[in-house]
Symmetry: C2
Subunit: 219 residues, 2 copies
DNA sequence: TGTTGACCGGACAAACCGGTACGTTTAATG
DNA sequence: CATTAAACGTACCGGTTTGTCCGGTCAACA
């Protein structure tokens, strides 16, 4: 009965242990993928032991799922915390795209983990159903596009899903592929100036696609 | 002196064996990543044995590097085999973007392998220096942009690198992330119709970004 | 046709790694 | 303080996986 309190007040804190494990594991999985990461290595980098991974998460896959879940949560809160209704459709769209870019830039490990998931054909993600936030993001975008189409500032007939894919692609790709790009073109894609330039370009690209043209055609 | 001929004419053909090994390994690495793929599994799927992997490539990493190298080569020939100088800048740009999309769509394993490389921070790619083709692709793009800027059909002041990144992002992302997207939005991203729709959208996006705005357009 | 050397395959070895058994510590509670 | 259950650590097991060994085969060429 005092159970709940008991659990909460522990000094020997399970949730702290879990959090540390997840944090380190996020790094490790992002760097090496699910198969490449080593349970022992993850444990060694924490203050606790390998056994705790099995105690708290049951298996390597369990830990990975926990990492995935938290990663998506972080994305969600970062993406969803903005009110676009106060702005004009054009400004809202710019803000949305910029914010999306920033989220990706801020959480490169998450981007990496999503990559890892795709290499593994999204096996693990199927057992998690906590990402209605994507649909939510799509709704946000749809509202902006509708608003812009109505007042003539944005092109009409745009497919929200396509635009979402475009935004996602532009933001994701730069963060995801810094290494190969950096090597091929020999520039430091991480640097603040390149980051800023890329962000600007991404926003400009989406705006170009969505903004109404002078001689707007209607079918 | 008859050495070259000898090597060529073998029935017991080493290059055929190598090719088969690389082909299967490409699949396997693309599906599971470097760490996730199993040497034994690769060997089992070929007509030859595991020993040949070590005979021809020295190690698992050696095989992976060979796969990477050939993957980039395939991209290069597929990308470079077109003459854009006969077309107007606008048409050339559309063709270039479309062709880039098609290359990615046709070789999803290569896309996957580049993903895998980025997860592993491009460790292996550093030991390969055979991709000036990217710079070549950049030159092709630069020429088109310059031409378009000169005759007023394309915006002036565009950065070829940024546009290249954009094209790459749009083409790469759709192919790379079919699994997570497919799951989140519940549609079959592989299907011909979705593929076609996406291709059209990608071309339209790049054109929107690069085309001269209504005021300056001629045609 | 016999020799040579590149090519091949299956069995084997050693390391590696996920997972577990079992014992210990900590903190809340009576 | 004794009890209890959660939290934790250590040592180890057993399957898996990379890489090797050794004997055999086939094609080219003299």
């Amino acid at each position: 009965m005092a159970q709940a309190i008991t659990k909460e007040r522990r000094k020997r804190d399970s949730s702290a242990t879990r959090a540390e494990l997840i944090a380190i594991a996020t790094d490790e999985f992002a760097e090496k993928g699910l198969a490449g990461a080593r349970v022992e290595e993850i444990a060694a980098r924490t203050a606790t032991s390998k056994h705790m991974i099995y105690y708290h998460f049951g298996s390597k896959d369990g830990l990975y799922r926990a990492v995935l879940e938290q990663a998506y949560d972080e994305f969600r809160v970062a993406e969803g915390s903005f009110d676009y209704d106060d702005l004009t459709a054009l400004d809202a769209l710019s803000a949305l795209v910029g914010a999306t870019f920033d989220v990706h830039a801020r959480c490169p490990q998450i981007v990496r983990i999503i990559m890892a998931e795709n290499i593994n054909c999204g096996q693990q993600i199927r057992s998690i159903d906590s990402f209605q936030q994507r649909e939510l993001a799509l709704d946000t975008l749809r509202r902006i596009l509708d608003r812009g189409a109505a007042d003539g500032t944005l092109r009409s007939g745009l497919d929200p899903l396509q635009i979402h894919l475009t935004v996602s692609a532009l933001c994701f790709h730069y963060i995801a592929n810094v290494h190969t790009f950096g090597h091929v073109f020999e520039f430091d894609a991480h640097s603040a100036e390149h980051m800023k330039a890329r962000r600007k370009e991404v926003v400009a690209t989406v705006i170009s696609r969505c903004a109404a043209t002078a001689g707007e055609e209607k079918r």
